[in-house]
C-alpha cells in the first residue's frame, strides 16, 4: 500500500483513541462529518475557494541562495506558509475544521494554542463565520506570545490562561479537553496539530497536505526534479506532515523533521520527543512522548512556544519507526542563529518554530553536499517572536529593554 494512503485510527502501532467515553460520540460525529465532507465536491470547492481568496493560496516558493551559501552550497527552497493570512500554516487546518463545524451545526468552537498561531487562526475563522470562540493557552505562553493574545482578543475570542501543570501547550490541551467533555453538545474542538485522538491526526493532515502538493509541483517546475530532501520543524507535527505527505511515496526524497532540542538533548530542558522519548499514551493517542519511568509526562522546554510540547503526532512516530522519515534535534541557540541568518541574508524574518527547520537544514545541506536541493517548510513568520528575538539579540535600547 502506498504510504500516502494510510488513514487513522492507527498508523502502525501508533494512534487510536484513548479518551473518556464522554467524548467518543463527538469524535464519531466529527469523523463521520469529515468522511462525508471528503466525498462532497461542494466541501472541497468551498475550502479551496477560501484558500484562494482568504488565505492566499497557493503560497509561493522562494529560493534563498544567500542563505544557502551557509549550507554547503546546496540549493535551498522555502515553501512560504509564512505569507498565509494570519501568518502561518495553521489557517489551512482551521478553515477546514471551521467549515466542518458549520456542517455539524455547532455554534461554539474551542482550541488550544502554544505559540498563539493556532489560536489566532481559530479566532479568525470564528470571526469570519460568526462563531463563539474560547482559546486555552498556557500562562507561560500568554506571556511569551503576548502579541498573539491581543490579536485573539481583538478578534473577539475569549483567551483563558491555563495555570495548571507546566502552564504550556500540554496543559492548554488538557483544559480544552475538559471544556469539550463538559460542553460537547454545543461545542466543537478545533484541534491544532496532527496529534490527539482519531480522527484528528488524519483530518488535520488532510487539511495540511496541500502544502506538499503545491510545493512538489512548484519545485518540479523550478528545478525540473524532485528535491533531494524535504525538511520541517516538528511540534505536534502538522506543518511537517503537511509538506511530507505528497512525498511519502517518492523513495528518493529524504524527509527530515527537526524537533526542539532546547538547551540540548543531554539536558532535561528540551522537547525532542522522538529523539529522546518512548511510546506512551498522551492526549488521546499512542505515540512517542517524554515521560518518566512511571509514565508521568515530563515537562518539555523550548524557546519556541509552538514546539514546546512533550508529545508528537502518531503518523510521525510511525514514519520514524519504519525509517521513512528522520527526526533530529535542533537547539534553541541554533534556531535563533538561523532566524537571524535568514533575516540578514534574505530579508525574511521566520517564526522561531520554523527557524528550527532552517537550522537543521543548514547542517543537512553540509551533509548532502552542493548537488542537493532542499525544500524547507517555512511554517510561519516571526512577527510574534520579535520580543523574544529582541531580548535574545539585545536589540532594545537599554532604557526600553529593562
Amino acid at each position: 500500500m502506498a504510504l500516502r494512503a494510510q488513514t487513522g485510527p492507527y498508523f502502525g502501532d501508533f494512534g487510536g483513541r484513548f479518551v473518556p467515553e464522554s467524548l467518543v460520540a463527538a469524535l464519531d460525529e466529527l469523523g463521520e462529518a469529515y468522511d462525508l465532507a471528503k466525498l462532497d465536491p461542494a466541501f472541497g470547492a468551498e475550502l479551496a475557494e477560501l484558500g484562494r481568496s482568504y488565505t492566499g493560496r497557493p503560497s509561493i516558493i522562494t529560493e534563498v541562495p544567500r542563505f544557502a551559501k551557509h549550507a554547503g552550497g546546496a540549493r535551498i527552497i522555502l515553501k512560504r506558509e509564512d505569507l498565509n493570512h494570519t501568518g502561518s500554516h495553521k489557517i489551512n487546518n482551521v478553515l477546514g475544521q471551521a467549515l466542518l463545524t458549520k456542517r455539524i451545526g455547532k455554534q461554539r468552537v474551542i482550541a488550544e494554542t502554544g505559540a498563539g498561531q493556532h489560536g489566532v487562526a481559530t479566532a479568525t475563522a470564528a470571526a469570519l463565520f460568526g462563531l463563539d470562540c474560547t482559546i486555552y493557552m498556557g500562562e507561560v505562553d500568554t506571556e511569551r506570545q503576548a502579541l498573539n493574545v491581543a490579536r485573539m482578543r481583538l478578534l473577539g475570542a475569549e483567551v483563558i490562561a491555563v495555570k495548571a501543570g507546566s502552564r504550556t501547550l500540554k496543559d492548554a490541551i488538557n483544559e480544552a479537553m475538559r471544556d469539550w467533555v463538559t460542553n460537547v453538545a454545543t461545542t466543537n474542538y478545533i484541534f491544532g496539530t496532527v496529534a490527539g485522538p482519531h480522527p484528528f491526526p488524519e483530518m488535520v493532515r488532510d487539511f495540511q497536505k496541500i502544502i506538499g502538493e503545491e510545493a512538489r509541483q512548484q519545485v518540479l517546475d523550478l528545478t525540473g526534479a524532485l528535491p533531494t530532501a524535504v525538511t520541517a520543524c516538528v511540534g505536534g507535527g502538522s506543518n511537517a506532515i503537511g509538506i511530507f505527505h505528497a512525498f511519502l511515496d517518492d523513495e528518493g526524497v529524504g524527509l527530515y523533521g527537526f524537533e526542539a532540542g532546547g538547551e540540548g538533548v543531554d539536558t532535561p530542558r528540551h522537547a525532542a520527543t522522538i529523539t529522546k522519548g518512548r511510546p506512551g499514551v498522551l492526549h488521546g493517542a499512542r505515540s512517542y512522548m517524554l515521560q518518566d519511568d512511571d509514565g508521568q509526562t515530563i515537562e518539555s522546554h523550548s524557546i519556541s512556544a509552538g514546539l514546546d510540547y512533550p508529545g508528537v503526532g502518531p503518523e510521525h512516530s510511525w514514519l520514524s519507526a519504519i525509517g521513512r522519515a528522520q527526526y533530529r534535534p535542533v537547539t534553541d541557540d541554533a534556531a535563533m542563529q538561523a532566524l537571524r541568518l535568514l533575516t540578514r541574508t534574505e530579508g525574511i524574518i521566520p517564526a522561531i518554530e520554523s527557524s528550527h527547520a532552517l537550522a537543521g537544514t543548514l547542517e543537512l545541506g553540509r551533509e548532502l553536499g552542493p548537488d542537493a536541493t532542499i525544500l524547507v517548510n517555512l511554517s510561519g513568520r516571526g512577527d510574534k517572536d520579535m520580543d523574544t528575538a529582541a531580548r535574545y539579540f539585545e536589540l532594545y535600547d537599554e532604557e526600553a529593554g529593562a
Binding site: G16, V19, P20, E21, S22, K170, N174, D294, G295, T297
Partner: protein
C-alpha cells in the same frame, strides 16, 4: 495471583440489605501517603462500602479543579506508582471494603499491563476504573483482568450510543461507571437527570450494577441516585473535606453521606 476482594458482591449485598452502595474516592498521596491511607480507612469505618483510590497523574483530563489540586500536590510531594500498591495493601490489611484503583492509562502501560494486574491483585486490590480507556482500546487490560480476576470498570456517558452502551456493559466487571453529567469531576448542585437515563439504558442492556459518579456531594443526592442506581460515587466533595478538615473532616462527611444509603 488472583483478586480476592472484588466489588460486585459488596454492591449486591448493599442493595439487598439497604438502598445501595456508597463508593468514596480519594487520591493516593494527598495530603501525604500516610494521611491518604488513614483517610481511606476512616471512610470505610464511617459507612463507605467500597473505595476508589486515584493515582495522581500529570495530565488528568477528567478531573476538576479540586482533584487536580490534590493530585498535583501529591505529585509535587514525590508520588510514585509503587505508593499506589502500598496504599492498597495497607488499607486492605485494615478494612474489608474492596479497593479499586482509578488510573489514567499511560502509567499502566509504562508499568506493564500484566505486571500492573499482578501487583494490584497481590496488594489485595479489587480492580481498575479507567477514565481514558474505552473497551475499544482495552484488549490488553481485558486479557490481564480475565487472568487475574480483577474488576474492570468502564465508563458510560449520556452521549454513548446504544451500541456503545452494550459494549461497555459487556466489557465491564464489578459495575459500570455512569457519568452523571456531561462533565469533569466536581461537586454540582444538581445531579443531572441524564444520569437516570444512562442507568436505565445500562440496566436494559443487562448491566448487573451501575454506579453514578461525577457531581454528587450530599446525602440527599446519594439517596436520590440510589433510587435508581446500585451505587453512588463521591469524589471531589470528600477530597475537599480532607483538604479542609483533615482525616476527621473526611470521616464526618462520609458518615453524613452514608445516611443517604439507609431508609429514612
Amino acid at each position: 495471583m488472583t483478586a480476592r476482594n472484588t466489588v460486585g458482591p459488596v454492591i449486591a449485598r448493599r442493595n439487598a440489605e439497604a438502598s445501595g452502595a456508597l463508593i468514596g474516592y480519594l487520591p493516593v498521596g494527598f495530603p501525604t501517603l500516610d494521611e491518604s491511607v488513614e483517610a481511606a480507612v476512616a471512610l470505610v469505618e464511617n459507612g463507605v462500602d467500597a473505595l476508589e483510590l486515584g493515582l495522581p497523574y500529570s495530565d488528568p483530563v477528567m478531573d476538576g479543579p479540586v482533584i487536580q489540586a490534590a493530585t498535583q500536590q501529591a505529585l509535587a510531594n514525590g508520588f510514585r506508582l509503587a505508593d499506589g500498591f502500598e496504599a492498597v495493601r495497607r488499607i486492605t490489611e485494615r478494612v474489608d471494603a474492596p479497593v479499586l484503583i482509578m488510573t489514567y492509562w499511560n502509567p499502566v502501560v509504562q508499568y506493564g499491563v500484566e505486571r500492573f494486574a499482578d501487583d494490584l491483585a497481590a496488594a489485595g486490590g479489587a480492580g481498575l476504573i479507567t477514565p481514558d480507556l474505552i473497551p475499544d482500546e482495552g484488549a490488553d487490560w481485558i486479557a490481564a483482568s480475565e487472568r487475574t480476576g480483577l474488576d474492570r470498570v468502564f465508563l458510560a456517558a449520556p452521549t454513548s450510543t446504544d451500541k456503545r452502551i452494550a459494549r461497555v456493559v459487556e466489557a465491564s466487571r464489578g459495575f459500570v461507571y455512569a457519568v452523571s453529567t456531561m462533565g469533569i469531576t466536581g461537586a454540582r448542585a444538581d445531579v443531572d437527570r441524564a444520569a437516570r437515563t444512562v442507568v436505565d439504558r445500562l440496566t436494559s442492556a443487562g448491566a448487573p450494577a451501575s454506579c453514578v459518579g461525577v457531581g454528587i456531594s450530599t446525602a440527599a443526592q446519594v439517596r436520590e441516585v440510589l433510587e435508581y442506581a446500585e451505587g453512588a460515587i463521591v469524589g471531589s466533595a470528600l477530597v475537599k473535606a480532607l483538604a479542609d478538615g483533615g482525616v476527621r473532616g473526611a470521616a464526618e462527611l462520609a458518615a453524613e453521606l452514608a445516611r443517604g444509603t439507609r431508609a429514612e
